[in-house]
């Protein structure tokens, strides 16, 4: 912003609003993390106090690491999330490219059909999905989850990315065709790099719900060896007794990988279109 258009009051007000929002958003995370380092008694006595020499305890983390196969859950969650994102981005981008690039009968209808999924929650079809998974023998496999999440993420992915693909210069694609590039190379080498911000947006929107989902892991893949992190953490929450140290520690650990993924994608999100080749 230029100095001429800068009003000190507005700047302060904007920053104050942003700071307050940041505090509100981070507060629950902060409470979870500090309490995960405290003994059980300290958690209930003073939930908002920082851990000190007396209340500091790693008991939660010890329980988590001993109990069950925590690393396996972790790995499962990561495989499911990354796998689903990969397929959502790949197939979403391909469908979006076809809708944006090729003129064919029923193009608009196809676009609407693909976008319909945005309005209908996939959980409505849980019973049918479960039956299908049982028949195909995919129950209790990670593939079951990856397939369902891919289906769940595709509508929005196609919708967002086809808008972006329409903005990619036609001349650039035509130049590729004249130079003898195949449609696949035009898609992967010319178009995809230019819609990276859209892909990052889609990835961020899909990542968190998939990572946090409890519904489908519980129904489609409850077996010990395919449990996801969210499902695995449920063992600490009992009907009568809840091991709060362990729950908080598990949650704190679960934040880390999504944060790493988020940082990777958000850098793309911020970077925006860096191309200077067109206009």
């Amino acid at each position: 912003m230029s100095a001429a258009r800068q009003n000190p009051f507005n700047t302060v007000a904007a920053h104050a609003a942003l700071l307050i929002y940041t505090l509100i958003a981070l507060f629950p995370v902060f409470v979870i993390v500090i309490n995960s380092f405290k003994s059980r008694r300290a958690i209930f006595r003073e939930p908002l106090a920082l851990p000190d020499a007396e209340s500091f305890s790693l008991i939660g983390y010890q329980t988590v690491l001993k109990q069950g196969d925590f690393f396996l859950y972790f790995q499962n969650s990561l495989i499911v999330t990354v796998g689903s994102l990969f397929f959502i981005l790949l197939f979403g981008a391909m469908a979006a490219f076809a809708l944006a690039e090729y003129r064919f009968r029923g193009n608009t209808l196809m676009g609407l059909y693909l976008a319909l999924g945005i309005m209908i929650p996939i959980r409505i079809g849980t019973v049918a999905i479960l039956e299908m998974m049982v028949q195909t023998g995919l129950v209790n496999t990670l593939w079951a989850l990856i397939l369902v999440y891919t289906a769940q993420g595709l509508p929005l992915a196609v919708f967002i990315m086809s808008e972006f693909m329409r903005q990619v210069s036609d001349d650039l694609k035509d130049a590729g065709r004249i130079d003898g590039l195949s449609e696949y190379r035009i898609f992967f080498r010319l178009v995809l790099p230019l819609v990276r911000p859209a892909m990052a947006t889609v990835a961020v929107f899909n990542m968190i719900p998939i990572w946090n989902d409890l519904w489908f892991p519980l129904i489609l893949a409850p077996a010990e060896e395919v449990k996801t992190l969210t499902l695995g953490s449920q063992v600490f929450i009992g009907q009568f007794v809840t091991d709060w140290n362990a729950v908080l520690s598990a949650l704190s650990l679960a934040i880390l990988p999504v944060m790493v993924l988020y940082v990777i994608f958000s850098r793309q999100l911020i970077r925006g279109l860096t191309s200077g080749a067109v206009k």
């Binding site: 210069s169 001349d171 035509d174 130049a175 004249i178 130079d179 003898g180 080749a277 067109v278």
Partner: protein
């Protein structure tokens, strides 16, 4: 030998007919310009020649071979786009070499041809930069270089100067003309700018609403337009059309007089009031409203002191005037 023959090309998008019955030949080494207002189908015609669009009917022959079902890369053409369309992830050198690489040419050939093009276009100091580090004019030169290295049978230019500023546009125009002389290659150039058409072309094809209005050399079209549209499109300022001129015309017809063929004389047959004066130094343009309330433009060479509001009389040589009928066809 003919570089390109188009026979009865039709193209429609759904129910909309964009090109109808276009037939045309381009001789070897000829510089042909397609010109017309926007939406006249000139770019679509170029894309049909390039193979980026399929013609609904008709044949396209390049270098004597029918190429209707040949993909763009194998037609022996190269194209320069209005928006440059450089590959953002490749350096200048790789941008130019990509087409040859796809043709599986040996590395030594690619290097030799790219080097030659870089030399020819003065791009040596930018050869290893990315397109984003270049200015508009440099990018367009790279795009032209990318076309040159392929040594095509036919160059296609799609409004290549439209994104450049006025000064650069003129320089690049001269460069393209020089390039054509040096390579003596067949070129097709699409533009909506009549100055580019007049200055570059060996042959101009004037298009309107998907039809060829007239084909000929620039001076032929200027001196001998077939109809009112061509007469009005070529020449700047545009030709004046008078329904109530001093010469008799057919019913509903018009009289066409170029602004440069009008002169100020006290006993002229046309009288009117000056509504605006444009002084360009070299010439002066007068906008005049005639007694019959028609707007005309007069182009006077040199500087002139006529003021706005003055009443003036104008005259012209009868043989410099064109007569058009109601449909806009020229009457001879």
């Amino acid at each position: 030998m003919t570089a390109l023959t188009l026979s009865n090309i039709h193209k429609s998008f759904g129910k909309v007919e964009v090109l109808s019955d276009v037939s045309l030949t381009v001789e070897e080494g000829e510089f042909v310009v397609f010109v017309g207002p926007s939406g006249c189908g000139k770019s679509t015609l170029l894309r049909v020649i390039a193979g980026l669009e399929d013609a609904t009917s008709g044949t396209v022959e390049i270098g004597g071979e029918i190429v209707n079902s040949t993909p763009p890369a194998k037609r022996g053409i190269a194209m320069v786009f209005q928006s440059y369309a450089l590959y953002p992830h490749l350096t200048v050198r790789d941008n130019m070499g990509l087409g040859l690489k796809q043709e599986k040419q040996p590395k030594s050939v690619i290097k030799e041809r790219v080097d030659a093009a870089v030399q020819m276009l003065d791009l040596a100091s930018y050869a290893d930069r990315h397109p984003s580090d270049l200015s508009g004019g440099q990018r367009q030169r790279v795009a032209i270089g990318r076309a040159i290295v392929r040594q095509p049978k036919l160059f296609l230019f799609d409004e290549p100067l439209s994104n450049l500023d006025a000064a650069l546009r003129m320089n690049t125009r001269i460069e393209i003309a020089a390039l054509h002389r040096k390579l003596s290659a067949s070129m097709i150039y699409v533009t909506h700018d009549q100055t580019e058409a007049m200055t570059l072309a060996d042959k101009i094809v004037v298009l309107r609403d998907g039809r060829v209005e007239q084909v000929g050399s620039p001076m032929e079209l200027y001196n001998n337009p077939a109809n009112r549209f061509v007469a009005g499109f070529l020449g700047a300022p545009a030709m004046n059309f008078l329904a109530h001129g001093p010469l008799p015309v057919a019913d509903g017809g018009t009289l066409g007089i170029r602004p440069e063929h009008l002169r100020l004389t006290p006993e002229g047959r046309l009288t009117g009031t000056v509504t605006h004066v444009e002084r360009l130094g070299g010439d002066t343009n007068l906008l005049v409203r005639t007694e019959a309330n028609e707007a005309i433009t007069v182009r006077l060479f040199g500087q002139d002191s006529t003021e706005v509001g003055a009443t003036i009389a104008l005259d012209f040589d009868d043989h410099a005037a064109f007569r058009f009928d109601l449909q806009g066809q020229r009457l001879r």
